[in-house]
């Protein structure tokens, strides 16, 4: 680790101000950033800790019935407190290990947009709204590729609002070593149709699988997906999975998610 200053703002306004400093970087749960710093792969001058800001933590349901989760809410808290949205609560309870779940936060995960992370699939699959210190961004617009989001420099996620689906589930096939998603499929059935989001698989990061959505909107059963497949061209190839294997798993995990949700 290189030396850095740490700021612990108490309010969002203070945090935004602190982040305007040269080479400043926000620190949420630190589950990606701290290992990166330890490897000397990042050299921020100031770390702005977001975990001391009151009001960024907690789970509530708003008047429109959306499940609203503060950005600094940990995965463990989501697992325990998001019972009205079992697909999300179950996903949160299976991220990483207990240490990760008790430090890692939803806002941190979404802002990082790791192509193998779980939460992006839930946010995109449920059609969530990402609320920041300055605006609201639809999940469909938020994820812009591996480790890339619509967030501006210094913009802080404050809350994530999830429409609660009638049925949902997440099926994850774990990369054996890291146990991140080699492929994860999140399916959510709403009265207006079905959304399917795939994480772990694509070079472009989390994506919606339109063909599956169409088929499942007609018939929300695993058999509706017979013959539906994704091309392997955009899939990630690495030690743990070829593009062809990942494309195959996309179909398998989506079917399993549907079975689990139905």
């Amino acid at each position: 680790m290189y030396a850095f200053e740490i700021e612990r703002p108490a309010t969002i306004e203070e945090a935004v101000r602190a982040l305007s400093a040269e080479e400043a970087q926000p620190l949420a749960g630190g589950q990606t950033l701290i290992p990166t710093l330890k490897q000397r792969l990042a050299m921020p001058s100031v770390l702005v800790s977001l975990t001391g800001i009151s009001g960024l933590r907690g789970i509530r349901t708003d008047e429109g019935g959306q499940l609203c989760i503060g950005a600094s809410t940990t995965h463990a808290e989501v697992a325990a407190g998001a019972g009205v949205f079992p697909g999300l609560a179950t996903m949160a309870g299976r991220i990483g290990d207990p240490a990760v779940r008790n430090r890692g936060t939803m806002g941190g995960s979404l802002a990082n947009n790791d192509p193998s992370a779980c939460y992006p699939a839930a946010a995109l699959g449920a059609g969530a709204t990402i609320v920041t210190d300055r605006r609201e961004i639809a999940a469909d617009d938020f994820f812009q590729g591996m480790f890339d989001t619509a967030l501006d420099e210094g913009e802080i996620i404050t809350e994530v609002r999830f429409p609660v689906p009638a049925a949902s589930a997440y099926a994850k096939f774990e990369q054996p070593a890291s146990r991140f998603a080699l492929v994860g499929a999140f399916v959510a059935r709403f009265p207006g149709g079905v959304r399917v989001a795939i994480t772990g698989a694509s070079e472009g990061g989390v994506f919606r699988w339109a063909e599956a959505e169409e088929a499942l909107s007609r018939d929300f059963t695993a058999s509706a997906l017979e013959g539906v497949s994704v091309p392997s061209g955009d899939m990630i190839g690495d030690l743990h999975g070829t593009p062809e294997y990942r494309a195959h798993l996309v179909a398998i995990m989506t079917r399993r998610a549907v079975t689990a949700a139905a």
Partner: protein
């Protein structure tokens, strides 16, 4: 000393809980990194980030001016130091010695693997040292890297060491005289089964990374090295005599609590020599603590064989010959025992449990621009077992015979048995192991379990495996003939204190094995006192007799035997003292339950009465024996020990994803006499987890440029508890070893040796059950590999 009767005093056969675990689990252990010396400085090694390059120059000028920097060392500073030595010389098929490159403490002219240390920065703090490392100007010309072993042996291949003739370390044949006879037997066989396989490279991953602290006493001129070692005396000898030219009486090596080794802490490493050297040069203690990332790049790795094995059978399915052709990766330098692993520790096991009359191995050891490879739990014996048990399993499938029946038909049944590969098995009963396995694993119930799995959409497979190991390493005169540059005896000093408590100083080293609990059980059993009256001291050359340390499942078989011999001397002397006090003759004295009695009388003396007399010799046979009660013994075994086992594994394969889960794993082991069954259970469990890790998960992968792709736990898959089934482990009623006083054989490596083939055999069985024409999948059987195999057939 096999015992059928119930254990007394926590003696042999009892399972007292591990006393050392109290400190390990309560944070009161004393690991090397817990040691901090006054005035200590820190070293950071600047390591090569390329696999092969020529060092044109290093610019230290800026780095030397950085805050806190005490001195920056490079290869230039070690011109007069010796090469990091190799402890075993192999003679090749043609009678020539192996090629042995120089292995400098810090790189001199070239970097030869990613992680090779180029410079060592000693500073007041670790962060200052790391900062300075980044300011060093490197002028290194990158050279083509040699990674693939076959490519390394091609004419014109880039040489890892340009002063050697080629990348071939040696071309070894065993038994060379059998070469033609084996060829003839194979060409005339009724059936020949062939398997080509890779024994995947492992990263050892001891829980505690390596640490070294050098210390120099200017007043006495003594050097001390604190290090994470499995054998501090060996390090003292290798480093003192061959690298730094420090006589052993001026050098102390301390290996305190050590958090696992699995072989990787046997070897003498450059960092140890560096810290010892730098402490004297700077007149300050110098500490190095390896990070996990650095361990991936600097701990000697394991396995990495590419093998073709052929098994010949006659028309009645009797094994007639085995022939193998193996490439064994040495990495960029020869680590301490590297050449012995693919040769003697591997070749002598190639008869397995079978009476195959003819065996021939050809092993070519190859230098590559990768991290050195050396012993890793099992060391050569897992490689032997894996290929043999894979080819037998494939033969059974080709011939349509039951895999257990085929093995049974070829079992060695009479002991002692002289194998065609030099070693003589002294004892064993392979049919009894197979019988136990069949019962314990409920093999009859497998068909029903397979149906249940299939009903859940899963493919179920059953794999079996029989194996034998050569442990209790080793007879010194024999290994000397085979090229070892060391003896392999073990030592113990038994010091009986005045009030009857006993301190045993042993050359064996415990780094997870539980010696501090098990060793006292043996002495307690011999004297008949409570095991808690006995304490084990190990790990410090200043207070233990010269010993060779712990590896090769040798501690209880060799170190324990030394302790028995020393205790026998203690008992003989104590009886003389007791006889004098009770005015009887020596021969009439009996020692039982810690009490000396005179046969045929009611006279008796307590253990403590005699021990006190030894140190307060008022009424004492001073004309016959010296005061005091302390004895030392060195024990040199006259054969290896031969633990054997039969394992069964049931797996489920998810046909949609290729994911393998282990449903059931059953072991039947013959360890001879078992001192502490609970500890032995634990050793088997740990070994199984490691073997299953190799079979299903772990893989050390380099890319074509020599970059380690699996360089962290994000990509190198360690087995976790939830990957394991509940093991059914049996090691009851073993056949005692015939040549050591305890009848023990050693249990530390069995699980690692016996499990990989068991797992792979089971997965192949599962795939074939669904009609896949798959007869082999290379380890690790990751979901990707199993799925890919299913796509292809």
């Amino acid at each position: 000393m096999p015992k059928d009767n119930a254990p007394v005093h926590g003696g042999i056969g009892a399972s007292p809980k591990r006393r050392e675990d109290v400190r390990f689990l309560s944070g009161t252990g004393n690991y090397t990194d817990d040691i901090n010396l006054r005035g200590q400085a820190y070293v950071h090694f600047l390591r090569s980030d390329i696999a092969h390059g020529k060092i044109n120059g290093l610019d230290l000028s800026e780095a030397e001016q950085m805050p806190g920097v005490l001195r920056i060392f490079t290869g230039e500073d070690f011109k007069t130091a010796g090469s990091i030595p190799c402890g075993w010389q192999i003679t090749d098929r043609f009678g020539q010695p192996m090629q042995e490159p120089r292995h400098p403490i810090l790189c001199e002219t070239h970097v030869r693997h990613v992680g090779d240390p180029i410079a060592a920065i000693v500073a007041e703090t670790l962060h200052q040292a790391r900062d300075a490392a980044e300011a060093i100007g490197l002028d290194i010309e990158e050279l083509p890297a040699v990674i693939d072993m076959r490519a390394a042996l091609e004419d014109g291949a880039t040489k890892v060491h340009d002063d050697l003739a080629s990348n071939l370390c040696f071309d070894w044949g065993f038994v060379e005289e059998n070469r033609q006879a084996v060829d003839d037997a194979i060409s005339s066989a009724a059936h020949v089964t062939t398997v080509e396989l890779v024994n995947n490279r492992m990263v050892p991953n001891a829980m505690e990374p390596r640490v070294a602290i050098g210390d120099y006493n200017r007043g006495t001129g003594d050097s001390t090295l604190y290090t994470t070692s499995q054998n501090p005396h060996v390090i003292r000898l290798l480093m003192g005599a061959f690298v730094l030219n420090i006589p052993e009486h001026k050098l102390r090596v301390v290996a305190p609590d050590v958090g696992g080794g699995f072989g990787s802490k046997i070897f003498h490493y450059a960092e140890e020599a560096f810290c010892t050297f730098a402490a004297k040069a700077l007149n300050r203690p110098v500490k190095w603590t390896c990070t996990r990332s650095e361990a991936f790049l600097s701990d000697a790795q394991g396995r990495d064989h590419v093998t073709k094995i052929e098994l010949a059978l006659d028309k009645d399915n009797n094994f007639t010959a085995v022939r193998t052709d193996t490439l064994a990766n040495m990495g960029a330098y020869l680590s301490t025992f590297a050449p012995s692993i693919p040769t003697w520790l591997h070749g002598t096991l190639m008869a397995g449990n079978y009476k195959t009359p003819l065996v021939y191995l050809n092993v070519r050891a190859v230098f590559t621009n990768t991290i050195p490879v050396d012993a890793y739990r099992g060391a050569g014996r897992p490689e032997a077992t894996y290929q043999l048990e894979r080819v037998i399993d494939k033969a059974a499938r080709e011939l349509g015979v039951d895999p257990i029946a085929l093995r049974r038909q070829n079992f060695v049944t009479e002991f002692p048995y002289q194998t065609p590969v030099a070693v003589e098995y002294d004892a064993g009963d392979f049919h009894r192991l197979a019988d136990k396995l069949e019962a314990k694993a409920d093999l009859e119930g497998f068909a029903a379990r397979r149906q249940q799995s299939e009903a859940r959409g899963k493919l179920r497979g059953l794999g079996v495996n029989c194996f034998i190991e050569a442990c209790g390493i080793a007879p010194s005169n024999l290994v000397g003939q085979l090229g070892a540059r060391a003896g392999l005896y073990e030592s113990a000093t038994v010091r009986v204190n005045a009030t009857g408590g006993i301190t045993v100083m042993t050359g064996s080293h415990s780094h997870g094995q539980g010696h501090e609990t098990a060793f006292p059980q043996v002495v307690a059993d011999m004297i008949g006192i409570d095991a808690n009256m006995i304490e084990i001291v190990h790990g410090d050359t200043a207070n233990t007799p010269m010993g060779m340390g712990t590896y090769g499942s040798r501690s209880i078989a060799v170190g324990g035997s030394a302790m028995v011999r020393a205790t026998e001397k203690i008992i003989a002397k104590a009886k003389k003292i007791a006889a004098h006090i009770m005015e009887a003759s020596d021969e009439d004295i009996e020692l039982k339950d810690g009490k000396f009695t005179v046969a045929g009388t009611d006279k008796s003396l307590a253990w403590g009465d005699v021990t006190l007399a030894a140190y307060v010799p008022h009424n004492y046979p001073l004309d016959e024996v010296e005061p005091g009660l302390e004895e030392t013994a060195f024990y040199d075994p006259n054969n290896f020990t031969y633990p054997a086992g039969a394992y069964a594994c049931e797996v489920e394969v998810d046909p949609e994803t290729g994911k393998v889960t282990i449903q059931k794993f059953t072991t039947a082991d013959d360890f001879g006499t078992v001192v502490n069954p609970m500890i032995v259970d634990g050793q088997v469990h740990g070994g199984l987890a490691q073997g299953i890790g190799q079979a299903l998960m772990e893989n050390c992968i380099y890319d074509a440029d020599g970059q380690l792709l699996s360089a962290s736990y994000m990509d190198y898959c360690m087995p976790r508890a939830d990957d394991m089934p509940f093991f059914v482990v049996d090691h009851s009623n073993g056949t005692p070893c015939t040549h050591n006083p305890l009848g023990v054989k050693g249990c530390g490596e069995a699980g690692t040796i016996g499990s990989p083939a068991t797992v792979v055999n089971a997965v192949v069985d599962a795939l074939q059950s669904a009609g896949h024409k798959v007869d082999h999948v290379d380890m690790p059987l990751t979901p990707l590999r199993v799925w890919s195999a299913m796509q292809q057939g």
